[in-house]
Amino acid sequence: MNETLMLTVLTIITAATPLVYAALGELVVERAGVLNLGVEGMMLGGAVCSFAVAHYSGSATLGIVAGLLAGMLLALIFAFLTLSLQSSQVATGLALTIFGIGISALIGQSLVGIAFAGLPALHIPWLSDLPIVGRLLFSHDVLVYGSFLMVALVAWFLNRTRAGLVLRAVGDSHHAAHALGIRVVRVRYLATLFGGACAGLGGAYLSLVYTPMWSENMSAGRGWIALALVVFSVWQPGRLLLGAYLFGGISILQLHGQALGINVPSQLMSMLPYLTTILVLVLISRDRGRIRRNAPASIGQAFHPTT
């Protein structure tokens, strides 16, 4: 395998990793019937907190934990407002993004201009030494492995466990789930917190690995791409992984194309994730059964046990 091609694939994997985390979390949230549009804000919160903690403590591990917790904290605010106080999920999610952008800039004020060494690549005995495959799959940092693992875990959880069934039931019909004695609000709280933790990890990946530094608004819209990705994947973890590499791949390949002198307008390429998502939506909408099987039916609706 050609060296350039190999490096390109490695770059695509790193470009896609924050998307995988953020989108996977949102997928679980939406599967539980909650629409949290605050992914971008939670990513930024995770990015700034993980960078701050990693910088001041000197420990990348603590940084990762801090990013995860920061994402969860922001998600908790969202969950309290929408699930306990029943505010509009769409409006609250948008507000969460605005809040996340602002608060992360505030926290990060003193961190501008500071560099961080980044996470070391983990060497896995034997596996990392395999030709080609070793380099492609086993030469990454812990967060990339985590993203592979997380996709597998979520897929297994949603499709193979009782708890996953409960979560899907809550997302499909909260009234039916409630009638069965499932505590809808509690399930949604947990799912929302998980989503926040994942978005926080995506943010931690940005500020600790991808570009190891803090800069204002550094997620630069990746949270929105993650939201598009969930729809693109038709709420399936496997397809989500595929989609993330596709979206990451498009953005990397257009840069390579330019360096090679292939003249495709780069603005067009920046639009592609959204265009593709719309296209997929149109295609799956032709087959109504397919949407019905996958899209959570009660997404975005407030639940109150007495109604």
Binding site: L7, T11, V112, A115, T211, S215, M218, A259, N263
Partner: protein, 360 residues
């Protein structure tokens, strides 16, 4: 979406400004306002303007009160913010992005007693000055260094938007590079953003993957240098000294220096000698400067860079001195002639040595 967010910010900013205006009337210091297109934390363009603002505070102390509004979108909102500053007792207002040009002029017409300074524009009136820096002079210096230090003869250039300012930088860099190394070529990747660390890093990776062993950039974040450091290639900092992010990789940096200009203009406005004028300063006036070279720069490269720098300061060397050839190899400026500022300001073509087509 992001426009909406920024609007919210502008509304909040305007509210804060009116509060500031009310509380400040008693002391009556000279009030200077700044309007920034990005966040002061970008470590690039806006960051350096804010360093200039802080220089005013150091220089004049209590005598001057400064206000800034950051992340102001270029458009209708800009006019609102500028108007707000003008109507809240600011005596001098710096608007620091090209897109603020027309809003600045519009507001200036309604406030003849307020003085305005617009960065990188070309329209002036009695109370509107323009200023900018000849960053291309700095690019001629780093282009010389790149030409001498590249081994693969491929140098990567990360561009923001294909506007004359950026194209001029690419061309100045390429001309200087080819003077010392006629075989070297420049590959350009556009990221369509002034500031997106992730995308800038990806662009740097793409360029390095395709053989570039030195990269340079006209975008504002240190991310490309971090990639260069990680991949073991060289690079140059942009707008500020970025050596903290790439201690081994940054050979030098082009620093934007507005401090002296801001102090001068504020003093002039305070003592009444302010007049509308255009300033396009460069290395000579100190608007463009360099931090110390890295230890990796060999002595002969250092000397060559200094010859170019000193030549520009002394007026014996111009980065766009003929013969200048276009990409097709046709001579567009005969030997010995120096390109006029009009052509420089509207530059919309690549010179020989730049690969690929300029996006239109």
């Amino acid at each position: 979406m992001s426009v909406y967010l920024k609007r919210m910010g502008v509304v909040l900013g305007a509210a804060v400004l009116s509060a500031v205006a009310l509380s400040a009337q008693a002391a009556d210091p000279f009030k200077v306002g700044f309007i920034y297109v990005g966040p002061v934390g970008d470590h690039g363009w806006t960051y350096r303007h804010d360093v200039g603002r802080k220089a005013l505070e150091t220089e004049f102390g209590e005598g001057v009160e400064t206000t800034f509004v950051e992340s102001v979108p270029e458009g209708a909102d800009a006019e609102r913010v500028i108007r707000k500053l003008a109507s809240s007792g600011h005596n001098l207002i710096f608007t620091t992005s090209f897109g603020f040009m027309n809003p600045t002029l519009k507001v200036a017409k309604d406030f003849p007693d307020v003085k305005f300074e617009h960065a990188t524009g070309y329209k002036r009136t009695d109370n509107v000055s323009t200023y900018g820096a000849r960053f291309y002079e700095g690019r001629a210096v780093i282009g010389t260094m790149a030409g001498m230090m590249t081994k693969s003869n491929i140098v990567g250039y990360i561009g923001s938007f294909p506007i004359p300012e950026v194209v001029r930088g690419i061309n100045a860099f390429t001309i200087a590079m080819r003077k010392v190394n006629p075989d070297a070529e420049v590959k350009v990747v556009w990221v369509n953003s002034w500031y997106d660390p992730g995308k800038e890093a990806d662009a740097a990776k793409a360029l390095i993957d395709q053989g570039a062993d030195i990269i340079t950039q006209h975008t504002d974040s240190p991310a490309p240098l971090q990639v260069a450091e990680e991949r073991g290639v060289y690079g140059f900092g942009q707008a500020s000294d970025m050596s903290a992010f790439a201690p081994k990789s940054q050979l030098t940096s082009i620093i934007d220096n507005w401090d002296a200009y801001y102090v001068d203009r504020t003093r002039a406005a305070m003592d009444g000698s302010w007049a509308s004028m255009d300033t396009w300063g460069g290395i000579k006036s100190g608007m463009v400067s360099f931090p110390e070279y890295s230890a990796d720069v060999p002595d002969d490269v250092k000397e060559a860079a200094e010859v170019v720098r000193d030549g520009i300061i002394g007026g014996t060397l111009h980065p766009f001195q003929g013969p200048v050839l276009n990409q097709a190899g046709e001579e567009i400026l005969p030997a010995g002639e120096v390109m006029d500022d009009g052509t420089l300001l509207g530059m919309n073509f690549y010179v020989q040595g730049v690969q690929g087509d300029l996006p239109k």
